[in-house]
Amino acid sequence: MNALLIALLALPLLGAAATLAPGLFGADPTARGRRALRFNAVLTGLVLALAVALAAGFDHAHPGRMQGGVDVSWIPALGVRFHLGVDGVSLPLVVLTALLSFLCALYSTKRPPDGEGTPSALSFTGLFLLLEVGMLATFLVLDLLLFFLAFEIVLVPMYFLIARWGSGARTASAFRFILYTLLGSAVMLLGFLLIGLHAGTFDMTELAARHGSGLSHSTQLLAALAIGLGLLVKAPAWPLHSWLPDAHTSAPTVGSVLLAGVLLKMGTYGLVRVLLPIVPDGTATFAPYLGALAAVGIVYGSLACLALARAGRGGDLKRLIAFSSVGHMGFVLLGIASLTPVGLNGALFANIAHGLITGLLFFVVGALKDRYGTADLDTLAGASGAALYGRAPRLGALLAFGAVASLGLPGLAGFWGELLAMFGAFQPGAGLHRPAFLVFMALAGLGTLLTAAYLLVVVRRVCMGDPAQPAAVQVAELRGYEAVSWTPLAVLTVVAGLWPALLLTLSDPVVKQLLAVG
């Protein structure tokens, strides 16, 4: 197990370093690019295999125990330890990250990220692998300063993915992304240092075991505020979300998939792993505000989507899905804010579900953007609708599948998380103001209705329509490599929807530990 965890991080890191070695991938630029992309797919495939092995070797009888612990001193001067481990909360996220990275890498081998002025595929591979290191490390590390380091590792690769392989106002979007999140994480670091100063350690398991004892109430408040702000920028919570739509609109397909599928989860994971157990008093004080932000985010996200989905608004489909993420992450935040095992389980479930479903949606929308040359909904839909059901039935079906999964149809993954999160808000934790949470729950319920409304509008405008109408572009049907790289997400959406216990049995014991109940 120990070797597995190290290999999970070392493999992509070494791969990223290998892309810097001159001449390793041959001299001819095109062949070099092809080889690099294949190398990327093989390496991320290996990482996925390791992640699956990790899941298989995981002691499912004790998901609450930190497993596969690696704990060696790295920087004694700062008290930073290279401490890794997985439990029932991080394991699904590690597997999700490895899966999405592999699917993205696989997709890129056939559909290399290109466009005008894009750098070589070799650079893409290097950045992609570095990004994977950062994402995996975030979910594996158990030291606050390492967590901060992992948080920062993803910034530079993602910046370059958006700024160099993106489209539209890509440089501005990329800068907005990186400056916004850096501001958040710098403030988060101050919170970590405050905890380290008063608790004398940065070890997350030890701090979590103490449940905030030894930290005064004012310290907890200050630390929770600083850390919370940093994580909420990443999550993103309304009103700190404004970097997200631009970043998604400009990012290339694989960038969007990873941004929505993994990077946003780093924020919510941090809330569960750091904020909740380490500064419980501070979290409890801020929970109602978090709930309020979550509820506003849910309604705001769906209203923004509704506006974008309407005819004549020139709404961008990728932007729409980005705003829908604000709404969906709102459910995750609401579940966390409820401070109940039910709500937290729901939040963690919704986390994974959102990664699967939104990953799929961004893949499909990215493919549409490739085919049409634009993701502008009005251009896509034309007068009567894009009629994907008629012109490219499988592609249309996948989009419709993603949309109904996203709106929370029972039987699919999107349903359980949101239901449990709202259920948690219905009966919030002890000491929380119940009427307020009932209002949040009602707002979230309204949000689900609005979500259904805009997603159905999207399906009607993109999938339905008159196929006999003259089309601007001949839309190609679902290609083989697209089917291969997308179906795992669709299958897992169904599996998680039909068998939620798969994830909930993993997270439930951990959640109870984190909340120090039962």
């Binding site: 810097l20 920087i75 001067a77 570095l130 530079v156 910046y159 700024a163 710098a186 101050l190 240092l193």
Partner: protein, 514 residues
Amino acid sequence: MTTTQLTTTHLMGQAVNLAVPNAGSLIQSVDWVAIAPPLIAAATALLVLLADLLLPPGAKRLLGPLTALGLLGALAALLPLVHGTPRSTFCGAAGCSYVADHFALAFQLLALGGALLAALLSQVTVAEDRLPAGEYWFLLLSSAAGAALLPAARDLATLVVALEVVSLPSFALVALKRDGRGGEAALKFFLSSVTATAVMLLGVSFLYAATGSLQLGAIADGLGQLPGRLKPLAEAGGMLTLVGFAFKVAAVPFHFWVPDTYAGAPLPVAGYLSVVGKASGFAGLALVTSLALRPYGHTWGLLLAVLAAVTMTAGNTAALRQRADSAQGAVRLLAWSSVAQAGYLLVPLAAAGYAGSAHPLGATVAYALIYGLVNLGAFGVAALVARTRPANRLDDYRGLFARDRFAALALAFFLLCLAGLPPGVVGLFGKVVVFQAAVDAGLGWLAVVMAANVVIALYYYLFWTARLFTPGEAAEPARTPGPLTATLGLAAVGAVVLSVAPQLVLQVVSGSLF
């Protein structure tokens, strides 16, 4: 002239003090091992000057390697001092004037190592710009010897003399580039620096008048039991001394000379000034505040905290406004960035005032070492680019990755280290220890100001980094001269090794300095 007179007076004053018990105590045994690092640098300087007179013109290109060897020897002389109790020498009744403790060793490493990197960089510049070799190497070595002496000095006279030994050769080094800009740059540098020295000497004389000693430790004791009527004098003296050092580290509002001086100087000299020149200022500032003015910790702590906040903000906003197509834009950006970095370096000094102990200074030492390495690396790449594109605009860095892969990757790494973002891990942890010093001392507001500044700074560092990888016009890759490759390689390998094992440099944070 006044400078020398004042200094002499004080030295005499001190000698009188020391001679009180018996005249025999003036004959001291000197610990040659302890003073070896600055001594070797100074001896090499004299050797170079002599060799320049005696060697035939054809053999003068050997002076550069000789300088590098001398600095290497001085660095090697640090090794025997690392372990065991700190050695001290030139001791008198009031304490020792030269102490080779960990603080001194760390700053000597920075000064001599920085000078070595600058000397390696200069090998090409001296030959290609036809700078007078003998003078150049002599001045560089003299300045380095002063910079190595300064952190070990424990009395105000030695401190001021050492600081002048650092500064005076630097003026001439800046002026060696014999064009209009070089002269103007040197004059600006000279005038502001001389003003600073004058102000500082006034402060030193006040402190001496109030406490009757020039020894840093004795001043602290004297300040603790000062009669009330002397307090204003001592406070004014401390303040004026600090103002002098603030000039040297280019803290706001004494920073205006920096961009013009750096842009006008030969590039290796600019790099040298930004690292070694600044480091001496910080070493002096740390010594005076933490040792001599310890009883007034809260006063200068607040002063330095405000200075830090203003300096980093001013440096960063000015760097932000640097246009991509202006001439010498790259060096000017590095100049403003060095002003901003000076702001970060001031944070732990301010924290030391609040904490009432010298412990936070370790963060300044660690950060200065990291900054010195990567900043000289960045200047190295700038020198490389300047060979083919003398205008050295930021736009000239477009497509560097396509022209020179190694240089581009190295510069990207250095800039990310300066920004403190992975993969520049060591830069990130350098910032972490500075933040930690501020948070531990209860300077939360300063930490927040610094966090905002780190974000602002990221914009221009990343702007430059991204520029390296954008497609530019194709050009024949020019051959990189050996010494330049060696400098870049040394800096890059150093930064990578420190990124993997930050403990190597961060150990100064947890260890005892004095």
